[in-house]
Symmetry: C2
Amino acid sequence: MEEEKKLDAQMSRRSLLINAGKCAVGAAGIAAVASALPGFVSKAEAVGGATEKWPWPYVKLDPEKTAEIAYNEWYRVFCGGAVISSVFSQLREKVGEPYKSFPIDGFVFLEGGMAGWGTVCGSNAGANVVSNLIIGPRIAGPDCEHGHSVGADMMDWYSNTALPTFAPREPKQKTAIIQTTSNSPLCHVSVGKWMKSSGFALASPERKDRCARVSASVAHKLVVDLNAWKDGKFIPRSSWTPGKTVGITGQQNCNECHGTNIPAPPMAKTEVKK
Amino acid sequence: MEEEKKLDAQMSRRSLLINAGKCAVGAAGIAAVASALPGFVSKAEAVGGATEKWPWPYVKLDPEKTAEIAYNEWYRVFCGGAVISSVFSQLREKVGEPYKSFPIDGFVFLEGGMAGWGTVCGSNAGANVVSNLIIGPRIAGPDCEHGHSVGADMMDWYSNTALPTFAPREPKQKTAIIQTTSNSPLCHVSVGKWMKSSGFALASPERKDRCARVSASVAHKLVVDLNAWKDGKFIPRSSWTPGKTVGITGQQNCNECHGTNIPAPPMAKTEVKK
């Protein structure tokens, strides 16, 4: 099992590097190459946006302060917006552009697992927006590899951690907020398990405060990881690459929906090297 | 059942209007009010981003052309990026800002249901990014109500439609691509059902082309809806408000994961008006 994990991690790292190499022909990759070639007209500059040059300037932030901002912002822009705002609002002040031009409040729709459909928890989605916009998307070249891996690590950590881990200095709800482990990055599963264990309804102030604290917990970890990346010390922990290992995108809790009857996806024919 | 649907639709509309009204005290809402009051210093202008004024300028686009762009962009930036790029790249040319400043390529991470975890299909996520950024988030006031509802309608349509509905003029794969109905907005469920019915693997060129066509199908419907909104003729079709009706965020296919043993969430006490 441990060997499999190591193998996955190696495969994951290898595939990321291969993909990054391949994708350096994309618009952003061309920009990176072009910047070293005076006179070369960058395709990215011609068709890409003004903000499509990665990584974006980043200064290290205080995780505790960021989590406090996320907690309070949850009550204004909810989970996804709160995580994005907690990082980008500080960087608007400390750095300016491109953060000033990013429409943070437009991401309120991440609430309730996207427009209330209970899919991915907005905190995870918001963290992926932040990591992929600061560090860059994986198609932008090897320097941007960790935009993806900070985001993927968050999905893994969120699924396997008893949340919330963060308690605000001045909680809006004084009631004890219990911790539950979702085993899933989905809103419906995460909120559902917490509601079942705590007995509090979706519309209760306690459930709302729990979600505000989950957003704050995610924002805290996000900034710890971004700071490590800034220092060149970020090491991805997640080795979850289900597309490669089980032949379909997915979570880690197959049994929870499928029971013991997990369907086997059709697999691509193995290429035999001659 | 039909009555329930009507009631849900009414409740949904009512709650959206109530929420929109409530949220007009948010930053963007204050901006809307402030614009009518000379000398009033807008909170949105002070702390919000340069692009946080809604709706963004929109000119009607050709759904067929948009779908063709999405299809081809899938092979560069995958599902979520393709839907965003198909609309925003045209508006960069026809309108300019704020589309030029929006980092389209940063949204590659929506691929594979967010970093490969199989959660919400990136096409749905991309459509929600587009509708909520063009029309605005629901907290920005009543004029922005349909940012949420165009996005929510997409989740419903995606779940209940045999996809893909769109075939490109010059398909990269000549093999017939069958249509399947996911009953879910999730990547894992949507792709998994198609793989099961078609027999093609995740890594197959046919599966990739199917996903490119799904992104194109979503982009097509998105522009049809945005054009209707621009003409003042958009009418929301989705009445799915599970938080209000069943007490938890969720999809419409409870049985598929829960079987017949669907847990009852703890409900908030009903307020008795005296």
